[in-house]
Symmetry: C2
Subunit: 239 residues, 2 copies
């Protein structure tokens, strides 16, 4: 399968597509569980945190601040309020540290962007916290590749429709690349766009959906981002 | 002073320009201070919270989640960690309640939008938390008036420049209306756009700047949003 023109715009998800993200959350969750180990088992902490994260999504949205608040709520609830102020401050410090970590690009990302930037309009299309995502784009050093950065609160079919409308694009001119079937792939396919799924090593449970039924002709699943170049009509510049 | 065409686009700040916002923060701060009144004076709480808010701005940005995290940090720091888990949960509940309050439009807003919508492209241009602002626009019932909603992490001159570029607008085609000299007025004037300042009853200390020097020919200060209609060439429909 190849994507001939008229594809004009290639949109990339950011977290766990361009750079490492979920492993940072997993690591903070490990440290959070360690902090609560005097009170609770690892499993009880993970279960409680996941419940709080999902319960708070409609009001807090995605991102590190929401995650911090859900950790604090979980810690208070699971310890029956016995958690100390100093331990809660430690949770906030973990979140702040995560928010200012260096951005670690995934292998091959820069090469792929270098190869595509002359022939396609490149876009970042990511959900999450506005300042957090802007800060990661800045720290990633990738900002110059992207003509457009779209940060949205949720990736639904109408989100994609609006963004295509805003840029005067037809669905067959647009391809979405990302690690989440739920957010990057299914809604893009639903509006008739193309979508490339590149699973990440670690995906948040809430983003996981069954992929058994994805048989759309506009759908492609790849093992890594470098393989994207095999599917576009562009002179591939080997680095 | 009147704004003749070529003004094509009128952008409105949201919080404390279209609807009540700062009074909600002030009220939560009052309740927060009451919660800590066994430990500290009102003044000490307000001073500590403001310090935390401003210190955390570069990493947390604007909005209710940042405010909640700063309240929690302040409570822990000012009580030397003696604050209880249940009291911290109470702070989170205050923030959640604020995030889901009905949106209270400021007087005259709907009439002004009704009067302008046929002759101008209307925009919301607000900083803050992405999901929080989207949710307020939805709850306000004003969404249909606006061709564009721009939610940004900070309002600097380059923010305005980028937004004008994105919409193919020249500065003299654009007017920004808002309550904050620092965020809505000065950066818009700096790029050569027009700006209308409508002070709110309550403004966060961090947004306050001296207005002694604003003598720009593109600047206008009004007492309330209804007066906006006196300065545009449009048939005013009296409601």
């Amino acid at each position: 399968m190849s994507f001939p023109k008229p594809i004009s715009t290639i949109a990339f998800d950011a977290d766990d597509t361009l750079w490492v993200n979920q492993p940072h959350y997993d690591e903070v969750e490990d440290n959070f569980a360690a902090l609560l180990s005097a009170y609770l088992s690892r499993e009880a902490v993970s279960h409680g945190l996941y419940e709080a994260d999902v319960r708070n999504l409609p009001i807090f949205g995605y991102g590190a601040k929401a995650f911090m608040l859900s950790m604090i709520e979980t810690a208070i609830a699971l310890t029956d309020g016995r958690i100390s102020g100093k331990e809660i401050q430690r949770i906030i410090e973990m979140g702040k540290e995560m928010l200012s970590r260096p951005v670690q690009l995934l292998d091959g990302v820069r090469h792929v962007l270098d190869s595509l930037e002359e022939d396609y309009a490149l876009m970042v299309l990511t959900k999450g916290d506005l300042l957090d995502q802007e800060s990661k784009i800045a720290r990633s050093g990738l900002g110059r590749y992207f003509q457009t950065v779209e940060i949205v609160s949720e990736k639904k079919p109408e989100t994609y429709r609006k963004i295509l409308d805003r840029h005067g694009l037809q669905p067959d001119e647009f391809v979405m690349i990302g690690n989440s079937l739920r957010s990057d792939i299914l809604p893009a396919l639903e509006i008739g766009a193309c979508a490339i799924h590149i699973p990440a090593d670690s995906t948040w449970a809430h983003e996981q959906v069954s992929e058994a039924n994805v048989t759309d002709k506009n759908f492609l699943k790849l093992d890594n981002i470098c393989q994207v170049l095999d599917h576009f009509e562009t002179p591939i510049r080997h680095s």
